[in-house]
């Protein structure tokens, strides 16, 4: 186990060491202490390492993550796991706006609440939120799944394409073209499996399913007068 103290070394030094890890290297477990809200910690990882960060992190933590596991034992600032490709990013506290934005794959677990625009433009990532999410979450979501154990803010799934949203609590309002869909037995199984992967205790039976009505896919002649 390697411990990096960000009170002693810079984020750049940490990230460069993480980027240099090669296939044969044995530096798999890292602890990062004293993050003190620093930005861009553990960004752009491509090796199968396990990183635990003790404290609150700033913007863009674990952005573009591939393969690696990054655990934040605290809160995360704007843009957590932005454009994640694969691997696992877990936050034990809350995440600020735009968590997992544009994520293409992998799993992002936020044990607390996520604020506005969680999963904005998601493109295949799976996001499991133990608490609630803010407004405009899954905005323009293209694929992947957003599982929300608590409540969702206004305009959930606005202009969504083909991502799936599962909500256990209440919804303030659905966004344009987002509608409730049937919760099939396969969907219940899928939610239960995702909660299991995320190690979040919640009853899959209480979740409801939301997605695209697909009315924004094509130009509708009825709207011609609006242009």
């Amino acid at each position: 186990m390697i411990e990096i103290d960000l009170a002693q070394s810079s984020v750049r030094e940490l990230n460069q060491r993480l980027h240099r890890i090669g296939p044969g290297d044995n530096e798999h477990h890292w602890h990062v202490v004293n993050p003190n809200g620093a930005h861009a910690i553990a960004v752009g990882l491509t090796a199968p390492v396990h990183i635990e960060i003790r404290g609150h992190v700033g913007y863009y933590c674990a952005g573009m993550n591939a393969v690696a596991t990054v655990v934040v034992d605290g809160h995360a600032g704007t843009g957590l796991a932005e454009n994640i490709m694969s691997g696992l990013v877990r936050v034990r506290g809350n995440a600020a706006q735009s968590a997992a934005a544009s994520g293409r794959g992998g799993l992002v677990v936020i044990e607390g609440d996520a604020s506005a625009r969680c999963g904005i433009s998601m493109k295949g990532v799976t996001i499991v939120v133990g608490g609630s999410v803010g407004h405009m979450s899954a905005f323009m979501g293209q694929s992947g799944a957003l599982v929300i154990c608590g409540d969702a803010g206004h305009d959930l799934g606005d202009s969504i394409y083909e991502a799936d949203i599962f909500v256990g609590g209440k919804i303030a309002s659905l966004g344009a073209d987002c509608v409730e869909k049937e919760m099939t037995p396969a969907d219940f199984d899928r939610v239960a499996a995702l909660l299991g992967c995320a190690q979040i205790a919640a009853d899959a039976e209480r979740f409801r399913h939301y997605g695209s009505a697909r009315r924004l896919y094509n130009f509708r002649i009825d709207h011609a007068a609006e242009y």
Binding site: N36, G37, A38, H39, G55, H56, G58, Y59, H75, G77, T78, G93, N94, A96, Q97, S115, A116, G134, H135
Partner: protein, 299 residues
């Protein structure tokens, strides 16, 4: 961009470390606002019947001693002037309106940056460490303080266009964002008797709150009314003689973090500014909700 910070101690007596803690918070926000830095300090009360006024002049060699002599012949001064280079704080036992009329008639070169029982406002072009040092921020005690690092978008990079803006007694505002209906609103407020020193959008928001408070609303009510009347992007931090408030617009694009302990409440654009405070690791930390007023008052 822009960075804003606020620190509000819950106890009534002045905290000696307030200035040095605010300087540390501002320093963390330098990349967000390298154009200019400003802060408002709420320190000791002026003696009964007197008020404090922070004056500014463009040059750093202004003859404040001479101005003090002139002021003393026109008005009773409650204590000695405190010069800080381009700024000076005077404590005057007179009606503020008469003092402002005298200043604009006799010394039109001077800007009034703030007035009230407690508030003092300092702001200047430059990075936060340099500006804090210029005005001796680290040596200042007080009950609460707000600060701002500016990356200008709406108006010029000058001292006068820097934040905080103070448009009424003991009230000040710092802002991250931009307002789009400030020109029309400024005209409306001017008709209501609110005075503006610049063409800056944030000054209009400060003037708006002054106007609402003058109507008898409290700070929370004034900010709730602002949600309907101000159009644009904003995270605001507001200070009054005994209070401190935060408001984000309904879209909430402009970041904000709040933290609270038994001793203090802190607000910052980014958590790294709060991380510098004693007890930050154990503080409750959260992101303020959109269109929701958060306020704290000392009784």
């Amino acid at each position: 961009m822009c960075g804003i910070v606020g620190l509000f101690f819950k106890r009534e007596i002045a905290t000696p470390a307030l200035g040095s803690l605010l300087a540390g918070m501002l320093s963390q926000m330098r990349e967000r606002g390298p154009d200019s830095t400003g802060f408002a300090l709420y320190g000791d009360d002026a003696p009964p019947g007197a008020f404090k006024v922070t004056l500014h002049e463009l040059g750093i060699e202004y003859d404040w001693a001479s101005l003090e002599g002139e002021l003393a012949t026109a008005f009773p001064l409650a204590c000695r002037a405190q010069p800080y280079g381009s700024h000076a704080v005077f404590t005057i036992a007179a009606d503020p309106e008469r003092v402002f009329a005298w200043i604009s008639a006799c010394h039109p070169e001077l800007d009034v940056f703030s007035f009230g029982e407690r508030i003092e406002v300092f702001k200047d072009v430059g990075l936060p460490d340099a500006v804090a040092q210029r005005f001796g921020l680290a040596q200042r005690a007080g009950t609460h303080a707000l600060g701002h690092t500016r990356m200008a978008t709406e108006s010029a990079v000058t001292t006068e266009h820097s934040h905080p803006f103070s448009t009424g007694a003991d009230l000040c505002l710092v802002h991250n964002g931009s307002l789009s209906n400030h020109n029309r609103l400024r005209q409306t407020l001017q008709r209501e008797g609110i005075r503006f020193a610049t063409d800056n959008d944030t000054e209009v928001a400060a003037g708006y709150l002054t106007w609402r408070l003058r109507q008898g609303r409290n700070l929370t009510e004034a900010l709730e009314a602002a949600l309907g009347d101000l159009d644009g992007f904003y995270t605001f931090a507001v200070g009054t003689r005994d209070g401190f408030a935060i408001l984000r617009d309904p879209i909430a694009c402009k970041p904000a973090v709040l933290a609270e302990t038994d001793d203090w409440v802190a607000m910052a654009t980014e958590y790294r500014a709060i991380a510098t405070l004693p007890g930050a690791a154990g503080a409750e930390v959260w992101e303020p909700l959109p269109a929701t007023v958060y306020s704290w008052h000392r009784q």
